[in-house]
Symmetry: C2
Subunit: 431 residues, 2 copies
């Protein structure tokens, strides 16, 4: 092992353990077994109802499958306060588990009154179907301003999750233990990508992975990303791992309006594997069902923690993870290095092996994406997400070797369809 | 010990240890020994200078005496980020110590440029005297918005510490190891009250205290406070302690303009002891040199942690500790119960015994301050700080038994002096 650890230090990695167990051991699984479903449905029918939004339902999905394990439901006030102030929860045995985002369910005055003294409620999906039971409930105040300030480090208007979820929400939070009546499905043709942490762990076992490295993304994969993932695999092999498996794990919940939608991204990711840019033999593509907060250093902890629960032991983190532009000022909302730094110091994530990104850019001499070489900086072209979207929207081709042609076509078609919609809209709406 | 622990449970206290050691063992003491002073002064004279504000100097005082132990100076970025995101710092051995407020020193562009590549700077007091050396410095960005949002849970204008300290401060923070050239003194006739954590520990030893219970305050002591402190002593005796000592520990640094000034409060506290409301034999009155943030649940952790460093093992916490009204809305800035809850769950404060307040109010039947009895709520009068100040300002006497007459006189005279100043001002300033 000596040679392994020296090779590890050479490549800038510090290996802390083999596969990490989920926080607190066994994963939480909150789906009611089929044998008890009928009984539980009757129980739910008799309870006061709480209607879920689309994004509430995404959280029910996340919690029910154990991504937030050991969390067993929506946070009660003690959990909420610990999450908000400490980004971690203290367990009964005194250990801390990371929990950086408040996972909460909001209700308004009218629903609170309707619940009255009931100890449980039934959760009803946006389509009116009974979804879950929340029991041993606790209702407490939803101080939106404080929640926003402590989660995002700003209260400036224009934060996508705040505008979509928090501002329209009620002034109360309801916590309790969750039991989901049946597995959450979306019936959008992508459910087979939605592997639970338990299913992912089984798949890693089946493939006999001795290292799992996770890549969180909400954007199309270009060859710079691929270079980085392939290089990580190379480094893990160099460190002595025999079968490192990549978990390519696009986020599937709420994203902001100008991000590329999930179905388009999944099609693009497929092309990247078809074109051999990533190796299908050593890659698992699955959807991470969480909604996106765009909360930078606070959210990157959640992204990493959830992947540990799914069996990953290496996490790739880049510049400004989960970040975005400041909604009202001309600057990044977060210092681009804070995500990596905060993640590396976060309580409850001590065992995670963090793989910092090396910056990739388009090498105009080699005509491909390559690790940036500061000694010949002028040869490199940085193509931002905005720039990439502009290329695709205007039909202009990016430089050769930026993205595999199959993947690029998917994006171009998506933007063409947007423009078609747009012009249809313009023709039907009077000026 | 069995009977002790059952008595403890009966009185609602959970006793976790005898006198608690400061975080990380020995207290830091950052005052240069006299033998090296000359040498260090010469060293400081040759360094780039950073001018301190009055409040910066209060922090130098706080850090130099070990109140923030194991912190050895102003925070570098790693400490700042941990404080901001986790309210605690990870030590080399993996343990967490509580550190809820960023203890930082701001500089502006011009000073940063002047420091250039120097590894150390000299800190210069508001009066121009050399105060300290900061070495192995690190300069990093001061994102004021993020600091404010994560510390206060709001960015609303009107937060006293923000307006006084942060808004006018520079856009950089400078961290490093602190060496203070000589003990910080204020020469205001109150320095003998400014006992360091080391001096307090010696005093507790000298008095053979087997329990020290700390009471943080920034207001005059009324008989409700006294009732509570005396009752705590009674409960500690009941629990089996033989010599519980009260640390009456008014905050001596920056406070907001409408709080009663330190000298007036110290005189008032003296009267309370002279009048026998608190027992001088079992009470130590000393000044806690920290500035006040009014940051509620975040700040109460700092208030408790600093007192642990000074040797306290019981901390009395009441309604809305370190709280204030929301600066722009008609409500408390913090949920009045959050301070107590957050304190009880804070990482690094596991060993602290928290003594929750019982609410005291003026009993109009017994004509004294008493614990509120909800079964005869109408007999009780709640006298807020604002109400108390209104009484004192208008010369109206509060109900008999609200405060000892000697203490009340001090307040009345203070408010008379304010009015006298006010009317002098009105006579000299043309209308």
């Amino acid at each position: 092992m000596q040679s392994l650890s020296s090779s590890c230090s050479r490549s800038g990695l510090s290996v802390k353990s083999s596969l990490i167990e989920a926080d607190g051991g066994a994963l939480v699984d909150l789906v009611v077994p089929e044998s008890k479903r009928g009984l539980k449905i009757s129980e739910a029918e008799a309870l006061p109802k709480v209607k879920l939004t689309k994004i509430d339902l995404e959280w029910v999905h996340v919690v029910s499958e154990g991504w937030a394990s050991p969390l067993k439901g929506f946070m009660r006030e003690n959990e909420y306060l610990q999450s908000l102030h400490f980004n971690c929860l203290r367990m009964g045995d005194g250990t801390l588990v990371n929990m950086s985002l408040p996972i909460v369910l909001a209700i308004d005055d009218e629903v609170k009154e309707r619940i009255g003294g009931s100890g449980s409620v039934a959760l009803v999906g946006p389509d009116g179907d009974l979804v879950a039971i929340l029991s041993s409930i606790e209702i407490y105040k939803h101080n939106k301003e404080e929640r926003i300030a402590r989660t995002w480090g700003t209260t400036a208007p224009g934060l996508p999750y705040v505008e979509e979820v928090i501002t329209p929400a009620g002034n109360w939070l309801i916590g309790g233990d969750l039991e989901v009546l049946k597995p959450i499905k979306y019936n959008d043709g992508l459910d087979h990508y939605r592997l639970s942490p338990q299913q992912l762990r089984k798949e890693f076992d089946r493939r006999q992975a001795d290292a799992v490295f996770a890549f969180q993304l909400r954007n199309p994969v270009h060859n710079g990303h691929a270079l980085l993932m392939n290089d990580t695999r190379r480094r893990l092999l160099e460190m002595g791992y025999k079968n490192p498996i990549l978990l390519l794990h696009p986020l599937g919940g709420f994203t902001k309006a100008d991000d590329v939608p999930l179905d388009v991204r999944m099609e693009q990711h497929s092309k990247v594997l078809e074109d051999g840019i990533l190796d299908p033999e050593t890659t698992i593509v699955a959807i991470f069902p969480s909604p996106m907060h765009y909360a930078g250093p606070t959210e990157v902890q959640w992204h990493a923690k959830a992947r540990i629960n799914a069996g990953a032991n290496f996490y790739i983190v880049g510049r400004d993870p989960a970040g975005m532009g400041h909604p009202t000022e001309k600057r990044d909302l977060y210092d681009p290095d804070h995500g990596k730094k905060v993640l590396s110091m976060a309580p409850g994530l001590e065992k995670l092996n963090i793989l910092p990104f090396r910056v990739a850019a388009y090498d105009t001499v080699a005509k491909k994406m390559a690790f940036f070489d500061p000694s010949r900086a002028k040869d490199f072209l940085f193509i931002s997400g905005t720039k990439m979207r502009t290329y695709a929207r205007t039909g202009e081709n990016p430089p050769d070797g930026f993205m595999c042609p199959g993947g690029w076509d998917v994006l171009v078609k998506y933007y063409e369809s947007l423009q078609a919609e747009d012009s249809t809209l313009k023709q039907t709406v009077p000026a």
